[in-house]
């Protein structure tokens, strides 16, 4: 190791110190470029920028979550989590991955927050319960709400990992018993990057961090997600799209259409309203993604995906409350109809009487 202190090294220096060659680094950058949907040639630009970037301190807070996002993170193969932790970032607090526990762990968090005040990246997974002063989720006796506010104060930027942190996710699903909200509903004065998904694609989590280190704050879509990773509509990029165009659909999960790989729209696929990199980046080291494995997209990277009317109900089917409402409407309609008919016939009678009176009068006059 060089005489330079580890955290003062640029990413390039840190990589070189770890024996990563320039070609190796270029490979890493090519994979990152591919992930950001940049042309392969952009790898050189990424390499140049990453060379000079400083390794940032990262504090990772887990709130109302299932640890699925962390599980996903640890499966990132390119850049790999090991590579990222040791070379590109300095992960100073992550209560699932760190060795320290109890008071020691909390002390590490406080120390990192103090030392890198104003400069660290705050990563949050999980939503934050607001009901009853946030008592429904606490860490070391501190509510998630208080911890988020404290940690956000000194952060350069916040990355909300997973649909829970980004939009409330499962804890916020109807009827939302704990009053769970997204990070963006609490913190208003810091840049927030939403990395949604339940969980997000492993390499997208690390890719967003790499993108942030390379190019700074990324361009976000209207839901606060980096366009580079969430610019693709699943339906537009789906290899089963031709079957949709031809009107060839699987009707059940085991019919002939399903076996032939036809479109899963009728089985509730939410691909048309979902934005994510699944169709190209895929999962499990690029092996497959839900639609390729025969199940429709559940739209997990979109807000309120739990409450979109059912995973197996087609997108075009309404979220109608109840048939009773419509039946009641029919009754009311018939009643109004009868009423107006009665009114109408009495009106008819009155009009007839009026005409008759007028005719009689005219007859009188002509006499």
């Amino acid at each position: 190791m060089t005489s330079k202190k580890r955290q003062d090294m640029t990413i390039g220096e840190a990589l070189r110190a770890n024996g990563v060659s320039r070609r190796g680094f270029l490979k890493f950058c090519a994979a990152t470029a591919s992930l950001m949907a940049l042309p392969p040639g952009a790898a050189t630009a990424i390499a140049a920028a990453l060379e000079k970037a400083k390794r940032p301190s990262v504090i990772w807070l887990s709130f109302q979550e299932c640890t699925g996002c962390t599980e996903s993170l640890t499966r990132s193969h390119s850049p790999s989590i090991e590579g990222l932790i040791f070379d590109a970032i300095s992960l100073d607090y992550h209560h699932t991955l760190q060795a320290a526990a109890g008071h020691g762990a909390e002390a590490a968090r406080e120390e990192a927050m103090k030392e890198h005040h104003g400069k660290y990246i705050l990563v949050v997974d999980g939503s934050i319960p607001m009901k009853d002063d946030g008592v429904y989720s606490t860490i070391a006796g501190m509510t998630n709400l208080a911890m988020l506010k404290e940690a956000a104060a000194g952060a350069a930027a916040i990355v909300a990992v997973g649909t829970c942190a980004a939009y409330g996710g499962l804890p916020a699903a109807d009827p939302n018993p704990t009053g769970a909200v997204a990070v963006s509903e609490i913190i208003k004065d810091k840049p927030i990057i939403n990395v949604s998904g339940c969980p997000p694609i492993p390499v997208v989590i690390t890719g967003v961090l790499a993108q942030f280190l390379t190019f700074g704050l990324p361009e976000l879509d209207d839901l606060g997600r980096p366009k580079a990773f969430y610019g693709q509509n699943i339906h537009d990029r789906c290899y089963r799209r031709p079957f949709y165009e031809r009107g060839q659909f699987a009707e059940t999960f085991d019919d002939e259409g399903a076996k032939k790989g036809w479109c899963l729209y009728k089985l509730g696929c939410k691909g048309p309203i979902t934005y994510n990199a699944c169709a190209t980046t895929k999962w499990n080291e690029g092996t497959s993604f839900p639609i390729q494995s025969g199940h429709g997209c559940i739209g997990c990277s979109e807000p309120d995906f739990w409450d979109m009317g059912g995973f197996y109900k087609a997108l075009s089917q309404g979220k109608l409350g109840s048939a009773e409402g419509l039946a009641a409407a029919a009754g009311i309609g018939a009643a109004i109809g009868i009423g107006s008919a009665l009114l109408g016939s009495s009106g008819q009678k009155a009009a007839k009487a009026e005409i008759k009176a007028k005719l009689d009068k005219d007859m009188e006059a002509t006499k």
């Binding site: 320039r22 994979a31 193969h77 790999s80």
Partner: protein, 142 residues
């Protein structure tokens, strides 16, 4: 993660559906043809990122088969192995990058005389001269 239990080793055989239309194979081959012409006429190199395409199951293999195999295979060992294979069409390379866990991290068709990653960087050449100088000056074996 250990490398001895990989997904690919699980003996599941999935038969690609016979009726799947290959939407991507022909267009990609056309793109390669255009790129090859550009290389010949202007010297411009191109790279097609196969992992950025919504390829249907089996399409990657189809493209690989159609391109065939040429005379040159280049192996890299840089943050995991890489194989750069010349296809049956001169100037068209099948580039496969793997990470240290032997997982494919990038798959490209590169159209160039020699794949760009093979050529050493200028800074590396400068470093090489310096290191060799160093070695010759400080090594008195002979």
């Amino acid at each position: 993660m250990s490398t001895d239990a990989r997904l690919i080793d699980i003996p599941v055989i999935s038969e690609p559906a016979m009726t799947l239309p290959s939407m991507n194979v022909e267009p990609i081959l056309h793109e390669v043809r255009h790129a090859l012409r550009r290389l010949l006429e202007t010297g411009e190199t191109s790279m097609i990122d196969l992992r950025a395409m919504p390829l249907a199951p089996g399409e990657e293999e189809k493209i690989r088969t159609r391109l065939g195999t040429g005379e040159v295979v280049i192996q890299l060992d840089a943050m995991g192995p890489s194989t750069l294979t010349e296809t049956a069409y001169s100037g068209v390379w099948w580039v496969e990058h793997r990470n240290p866990n032997d997982v494919v991290t990038g798959l490209y068709i590169e159209v160039a005389k020699v794949p760009s990653i093979v050529e050493p960087d200028r800074q590396d050449l400068i470093d090489a001269v310096a290191r060799l100088n160093d070695d010759l000056e400080n090594n008195d074996d002979e």
